[in-house]
Every structure is written in C-alpha cells, then in structure tokens.
Amino acid sequence: MGKLFAVVLVIIALASAYPIVTHMYVMPEDISTHGHQIDEQLSDTMAEAGISFLLAQFVLAFFVWTFAERTVGVKLKNFPGGAKVMVAAAFILVGTEVLALGVFGQRAWANVYFTPPRPDALQIQAQAGQFAFYFRYPGADGKFGAIHPDKIDEGNQNYFGLDPANEIESRDDIVSAELAIPVNREIHLMMHAKDVGHSFYVRELRIQQDFVPGLDLSVHFTATKTGRYEIVCTQLCGLGHYNMKAYLNVMAQDDFEKWMKQKASEL
C-alpha cells in the first residue's frame, strides 16, 4: 500500500501539472499597458510554485516508496543534518524566493495603484448597482451633473439620479450601458456604488477593483487593442450577481467620436 501511495501521488502530481505546462487554461490576451508586468509576475510565480509543488510531491512519494512497510527491526536512521538542515533550507530557499516575489511584485502593483492618472485622461464615471453597470460621460460641458440618490428612476433610465430639470450640468451627460472608450487613450474610471459592494473586473485589461459604497474610488488604464470585452462583477452583490456584466467597447478614435455624437443625439 505504501508503494501504491507513491505511485498514485506521482500520477496525481503529473496530471495536475499537465494542464499548466501545456497552457490549457490561461488568461486571455493582455490588451493593457500595465498588464505585462502582472503576466510576468504570474509566470515567474507559476514556475517557482510549480517546481516546489512537483519537488515536494515527488520527494514525498519517493520517501514513502522507500521507507514504508520495511522489514521489522530494520535499523532506522535520520535525514543527514536533521532539523537544522530543514530550517536552514526553508529560510534560505523559500524565504528568499517568496520575498523576492514580493519585492519584484510590488512594481506591477505600484504601476496600477501608485501612479496617478494623467491630467488629460478621459474621465468616465462607472456606477455599479444591483445588477448592472452604467457609465456616464460628462458631455460637451466637461462636467458631471450631481448624483441625487432620491431621484433615481430606472423605469425612465435615470440610473444615476440626475436632475436635468434643475441642473444644467447634467443635461448633456451621456449615460451608457456599455463602456465605450477610445483605444490607446488613458481612461480615468471613477467608481460609484449605488447600493451594495460590487467589483469591476476585465480580464483582458488585467484590472480588478471593488466598488465600495461611500468611497470615491477610481482606476486608470489604457487599452491597446480594439474589440469588445466583458466587464463582470466579482463582489457578491445579491441574487443577480452572476448576471451582472457589461461590455467594454474599445474603439478607434474616430469611431469613438461617432459613437459619442450618436449618444448625444439621443438625449
């Protein structure tokens, strides 16, 4: 049975590694300017984790194969060096490896979170509410009208609670169910939660950030490839969480301007 354990374990380890090594399950293509650092970090970590995983499982299998169910009375011995070697190895190998990951990994993090958005970034406001995302552009006047939660009227598609009757700034605000953005332009996405916690996740953009009610959060990013990508909610927000999504529509600059004109004409 000991030898069977070793064999089964080796098979399990190899079978587990197979989909990783053959890249069967990978993130989709990165279309952001900051994502490559995350992808590199993920690759490096996968290599180190993968080697550690396989090594550990193989050593466990080998030791069980060799040292299980031996003849009674066989002379037992200890691993050369004993506990000291283990402790030293853990500190030196694992300690440096994981701390290196941590130190190098912070660059990717800093790139997303410690660099402010450029002053000419396109400002768009995203609102997450049970169970859809809506996006608001400031319109020709460049200003966002105020949000009045008591004026929200979804039946009339007033998702943000704007008051165009009394406030001029909100009259030209464009509200859209899809996040249309021009390619290669930095976007400063301001995030407003209407009711409970939600999250904004676009796999291709390598961006994920929670919407927190009461907090003015934002992310900034630049998309480098046109196309339609899914935005999904990743923070459990109620029964419709599974169906809470929108599309990020990255367009060429001209197409984006046409889209904005079309939207403005619907106001």
């Binding site: 979804e154 169910a177 029964l239 169906n243 599309y247």
Partner: protein, 236 residues
C-alpha cells in the same frame, strides 16, 4: 299568491340593481387622454448585458414610461371609476403578465382585487419579479426559465410599480382595482367604460409619470358621456 310573486320579483329586481353594478346596456363613459407640452424623449434601451434579449430586437426598444400616439395621444393611462360604483367580486380568469424580450407585456396590467395574477417567463434568462407594493404585501420571486408561472393575488386596491431585480430597465405597473370598470388608453389615447348603471361617478385617470386626475360624471340611462383628460407633459 300574487302578492308573493310580486314580492319575489321586487326582491329580484332590487337584488339585481344593488348586487350587480355592471348593467348590460347601461351607460358608457368614454373619451381621450392627451398631453400638452413636450414629453421627455423615450430613450432606447441597451440590453447588451443580456444578449438573449438584445438579439430579439433589430433596433433597440425604448422605455415605456411615457408612450405617446398621434395627435398628442397618451397611452397606458389607467382610466377607472374611483367612486360611485360598488366593489365587485373578482373574475376567476387570471390577469397575465409576461416577461418577454426583457420587457413586461403589457406595460400596465389592470386587474381586480383578489383576481389571480399569473406571471410568465418566456425568456431564456432568469427574471426576478419585484412588485413594489406599499399597501399590499411586498414580495419578490425569481423565475428561472422553464419554471411554472408565478401565481399570486392582491387584496387591496393599489397602483404597484413593478421592477425586475436583475434587469434594471424593466419596469411596469399593476393597477389593482376594486371593480371591473377600468380601461387603459390605447394608441389613440382612447378609452371606454361601458355597462355603467345610472348614478354619479368619479372617473380617475392615472399615469405612472404624470400622476392622477379626476372628473365627476353623471349617468342617466344608456347614454354615452364624453370625458377627456389632458396631462401636462414634463420635458425631463
């Protein structure tokens, strides 16, 4: 014997007059509901988050909070007798509210107190129907595709806004009324309330965005009285 017959006939007539308020061949109140001013633009609905619904529309459908017709006609106004007519027991036939293409059909559903309400889901997606009742009991229920119709009823009169918790653009109204004297204005704004016994009535028109208006009317015999409503449209 004859006294007894006369008495029984008299009782029968009295019963007929007092227990049934719908009198075939009675009077009718009809008219048109229109608006003045500029109504808000009905914006197209982007259903991209629900592709199975979005693909049912060649061009996107629009919101239905203010539906207008030719000659300033105002649709979806519930015109009903709010005073002067007796309460009626509900019909056994269900009032059917259908979720199709991520819209509510009809947008305004009028039915009676204690009349069965049947909600159907004809879409490929799960809906969560949430009538926002304040006087009646508030409930919301999920209805995955392929599940049986939801059947419920309301025991008090109320205009209840209905929303879908999953698809924010879906809105409708339940008009739960006390008797069968109601009519919803159609594309030309027209409505008709037939079968009214003689009497003094208050006719009320309810629009989900523009509010309520009432007028008094007296019916004598089988005449048709014309009553029109004009609502003030709001640009926003």
């Amino acid at each position: 014997m004859r006294t007894k017959q006369a008495f029984m006939t008299g009782v029968a007539i009295l019963a007929a007059v007092t227990t049934t308020s719908a009198v075939p061949g009675g009077g009718t109140v009809s008219g048109k509901v229109t608006y003045e001013g500029t109504p808000a633009k009905q914006k197209p609905i982007d259903m991209s988050k629900e592709p199975s619904c979005a693909k049912q529309y060649a061009t996107p459908t629009t919101t239905e909070t203010v539906v207008t017709g030719p000659n300033n006609a105002l649709e979806n106004v519930v015109v009903y007798i709010s005073a002067g007519a007796a309460d009626e027991p509900p019909p056994s036939q269900s009032a059917v509210f259908t979720q199709k293409g991520c819209r509510y059909i009809p947008h305004v559903l009028a039915f009676q107190v204690n009349q069965p309400l049947e909600v159907l889901n004809e879409d490929q997606t799960s809906h969560n129907i949430h009538p926002l009742a304040k006087i009646n009991r508030e409930w919301n229920k999920s209805q995955p595709p392929g599940t049986p119709p939801i059947v419920d009823k309301y025991d008090k009169m109320e205009f209840i806004p209905v929303k879908c918790n999953v698809h924010p653009w879906m809105h409708g109204t339940f008009a739960v009324l006390k008797n069968s004297h109601y009519s919803i204005s159609s594309t030309d704004g027209g409505f008709s309330l037939p079968n009214l016994p003689p009497g003094k009535y208050t006719v009320t028109a309810y629009h989900e965005s523009y509010g309520e208006q009432s007028q008094e009317v007296t019916i004598a015999g089988s005449e048709t009285k014309s009553v029109n409503f004009v609502f003030k449209a709001k640009p926003y």
